[in-house]
């Protein structure tokens, strides 16, 4: 069977020199200076694409990679410079919905105009008129000028006209980004319906998930060349993990890309796009310095990164609940995003018994049936006295001497052993210095003045911090340093400090956690965001049900169906694993101090953040440390009070 689309050795040329000259004066001047037609730019280079009837192809690639140019060449808008394009069938282009709409005319008139732009006859349009209006759900607005329509309404109308017939080839260029969720759903349904009816689809989107959902083949273009083609999972994964993926929230992406790819000199290079680095990057930008950020992961945000799954902001690296008593820090964070009223009140599950945390009167009354604080205190004290431990020799003795037998056995012992992977009697006492007991009915885990979770997720905050700052993802520091040696003034290093020095004094140790995230059908799995599993009957230490961080509601306040949970496991840290918590024992602390001595000799490097300073930091402490550095280094001033 012949292919429905054959693109062979296609090159498309733009004449950069001419592009911007559109008046005679410039033309004459440039002509005289012989500056004309110098630069030519190949938007596509020797591209091949063979599509069979009924296939659906996704085109992916960064901005300016040539995706839209290829679609335009297939549609016939652009002519090949070299090579051929053969299309055997009728094309319905949806490169921009409603491109043919006239603002002054009514929807009714526009339907006919838009239809004829797509090459349909008047008669045909009259026959399908009702169908179009019905799908677009605009029956009541037919006679108002389209300039009064919202962009969503226009998109609805445009989609409805464009998909009225089942075309042989449907071309879709990032058009479904507008419109509400309901409309997008119906669009997707309609597209699926068309696909099952034998329509061939060419689909361009930056939304990799939707590409995976809709397409059975993917073509990856970069700089006008085909980098990869094949099945969606392979190509999309390669795309997401591509080296030097430039990520930028600013509008001048191309400039940013050039800045990073050519290794142009910046005042500050921030290594690590986590909270510390991103705050510094933002403040440096605001202070008028040039700044760039690199990160070896394929996303920004470091460990605070949240990923939206079915409307739920999933904390990919464990529960992050922002709490602070530092007004300055709280104000700073609230300028970036509104925070919700979430209060962390975890629950502990031991076998089938459930207890409130932290240890408080709710816990004690459930455990012993006591009613007054004095009774609870007496009970605990009697358990401690019974044991008669003098100087605690290990963690078990330490814990027992603080909380007594019942609380220790049900809520501390197994949990701690799961965390550390060792028997409590083999663990040093210093790990637990104190176990706070509360003799009030207060389940609020933190005692800070302010507490909450950013309403749009932490990633939104990180995007805001990094807006206007070029970020290079999938780029390890060692690699960047090798590639662009003299491209930065100062380095803000937020990676592991031992890594910076190539582990020349030895490796610092970490504790790490692993998450197994599941999407479940049920609407309510455990009724609380955080449940600690304090017994040995299950291997995980806790389960996080992410939707309760946002009270089970999406951004518009609707109940979210289904749920996402993450089981948290503690693991022994090995090379190549994500480092989470520093191990603050004597050996590691001593080693860290040696690295600090080395760091003092590095004139143009500032170490910061959790890994850069080998310290367990709460988020507010990270923010505070970053703000202090910004004041010291950049002269940024932050006011505590409004």
């Amino acid at each position: 069977m012949a292919n429905i689309i054959d693109v062979d050795h296609l090159s498309i040329r733009f004449n950069l020199g001419n592009i911007k000259v559109d008046n005679l004066k410039e033309y004459t001047i440039k002509r005289l200076k012989h500056e004309l037609t110098f630069q030519e730019f190949l938007a596509l280079k020797d591209v091949d694409l063979h599509v069979q009837k009924g296939e659906s192809w996704g085109l992916i690639g960064t901005n300016g990679s040539g995706k839209s140019t290829l679609l335009k060449a297939i549609t016939g808008i652009l002519q090949p410079y070299k090579g051929t394009v053969k299309v055997r069938g009728q094309i319905a282009p949806m490169i921009e919905l409603g491109a043919g709409f006239d603002q002054e005319m009514t929807a009714r008139e526009n339907i006919f105009l838009n239809g004829s732009v797509l090459g349909h006859s008047r008669k045909f349009m009259e026959e399908h008129f009702d169908e179009i209006v019905e799908f677009a759900e605009l029956e009541n607005f037919l006679n108002s000028p389209i300039k009064n329509y919202s962009s969503g309404m226009k998109a609805r109308l445009g989609f409805s006209v464009a998909t009225m017939v089942d075309p042989d080839i449907l071309i879709c260029d990032e058009v479904l980004a507008v419109g509400d969720a309901n409309f997008r759903k119906r669009c997707n349904e309609r597209m699926r319906h068309m696909l099952s009816g034998g329509t061939t689809l060419l689909y361009v989107s930056h939304d990799i998930e939707s590409v995976k959902n809709l397409c059975d083949h993917v073509l990856w273009l970069e700089h006008g060349e085909v980098l990869m083609e094949g099945d969606p999972d392979t190509v999309c994964d390669a795309y997401m993990h591509r080296p030097d993926r430039v990520y930028s929230y600013s509008r001048k992406l191309e400039e940013d890309r050039a800045l990073l790819e050519q290794g142009k000199r910046v005042d500050y290079l921030v290594v690590g796009a986590g909270l510390f680095g991103s705050i510094f990057a933002r403040e440096a930008r605001l202070a008028g310095k040039s700044v760039a950020v690199i990160d070896q992961r394929d996303h920004i945000g470091g460990n605070v990164y949240t990923e939206k799954i079915n409307g739920i902001n999933v904390h990919k690296y464990g529960a992050h609940i922002f709490h602070t008593s530092n007004t300055r820090v709280w104000k700073y964070m609230n300028r970036l995003s509104p925070f919700n009223q979430y209060v962390n009140s975890p629950v502990a599950r031991y076998k089938d018994e459930l207890y409130n945390l932290p240890f408080n009167m709710n816990t004690f009354s459930k455990m012993w049936g006591v009613t007054t604080p004095d009774e609870a205190k007496a009970k605990i004290q009697s358990q401690i006295d019974e044991l008669g431990i003098g100087e605690p020799q290990n963690l078990e003795e330490q814990a027992l001497s603080l909380v007594g037998r019942d609380v220790y056995e049900k809520l501390v012992k197994d949990y701690t052993e799961k965390q550390w992977g060792r028997d409590c009697r083999e663990l040093p006492a210093f790990i637990i210095r104190r176990l706070p007991l509360r003799f009030t009915y207060d389940n609020n885990y933190f005692t800070d003045t302010y507490q909450g979770i950013p309403t749009a997720g932490y990633t939104a905050i990180m995007q805001k911090l990094l807006s206007g700052v070029p970020v290079l993802l999938n780029m390890p520091w060692q690699e960047y340093k090798k590639r662009y040696p003299d491209s930065y003034g100062k380095v803000i290093f937020t990676g592991p400090i031992d890594e910076y020095f190539d582990y020349r004094l030895g490796k610092l140790q970490y504790r790490t956690v692993r998450f197994e995230t599941q999407v479940l059908e049920t609407d309510n799995y455990q009724g609380n965001a955080v449940v600690n599993y304090t017994g040995h009957e299950v291997p995980w230490t806790r389960i996080i049900e992410h939707k309760w961080f946002q009270f089970g509601k999406d951004a518009s306040g609707n109940e979210i169906p289904g749920t996402v949970i993450s089981k948290e496991f503690s693991e022994e840290w090995k090379d190549g694993m994500e480092p989470y918590y520093p191990v603050n024992d004597e050996a590691n602390t001593e080693l860290y101090q040696k690295y600090v001595e080395l760091a003092k000799q590095e004139k143009n490097v500032i170490f910061g953040g959790r890994l850069g300073t080998y310290r367990y930091y709460n988020m507010d402490q990270v923010v505070d440390a970053a703000m202090k550095l910004c004041t010291k280094e950049l002269g940024r001033k932050f006011r505590a009070k409004k």
Binding site: D22, I91, A99, E104, V117, H120
Partner: protein, 262 residues
Amino acid sequence: MNNLEFRLRTFVKYKDLLLELIKRDIKLKYRRSFLGYVWSVLNPLLIMIVLTVVFSSMFKKNIENYPIYLLCGRTLFEFMKTGTMNGLKSVTANAALMKKTYIPKYIFTVAKVSSIFVDTIFSFGAFFIVMIATRTPFHWQLLYLPVILVQLYIFTLGVSFWLAEMNVFFRDIEYIYHAICTAWMYLSALFYPIERLPVALQVFVKVFNPMYYYIFQFRDIALHGRMPGPRLMIGGWIWAFLLLAIGLFMFQKNKNRFVLFL
């Protein structure tokens, strides 16, 4: 499939688009105006009155039936001028559309000139009103009028193609052409007798000003009740097809580069 057949098929496919575009222009022109299409008639009438009042005393002795003399020239020239001025922008104005989907580009130019043409036909209402008001006899030769209009339509289309094509590459064309149009108008003997011009200029106008051929054909049939001479008739066709050929050639030559400059 040969080239011509392909062209024709494409045209047939998009003929409804052409009609929709013409309809759009006409509908939008008078949308929200109280008198609507009446303006197509009323507007030339009012301008004719103004010009007659201003100029008739000046040229009274030389020209009989001045209002018709003026209106013959002005109606045709106005069509040519408005047609080409709008045609000139027809490609650039539809840039957004051309970048989004494939449409034969000449459709936009044809649609623009055609919608102005339709409007001009309305304005002939004004012409006939003045004919009646000034008691000018209706000669049978007026039946020749559609031929002149067809000639002028083809001519205007040709010029528009050429201008539209150039305007894509140099947006200055619009302003230059505006100045040219003004000079052209004064050289077309719209409101003065052509004999007023110096002889050398008269010869120049009679040979090289295409508008001369159309306007004077019209005056022959409307004012003098005689068929135009062969020189005017044939000259009118030659100019029309010459410009259409040039316009189409230039347009076709560069149309594939349009989208790079829009």
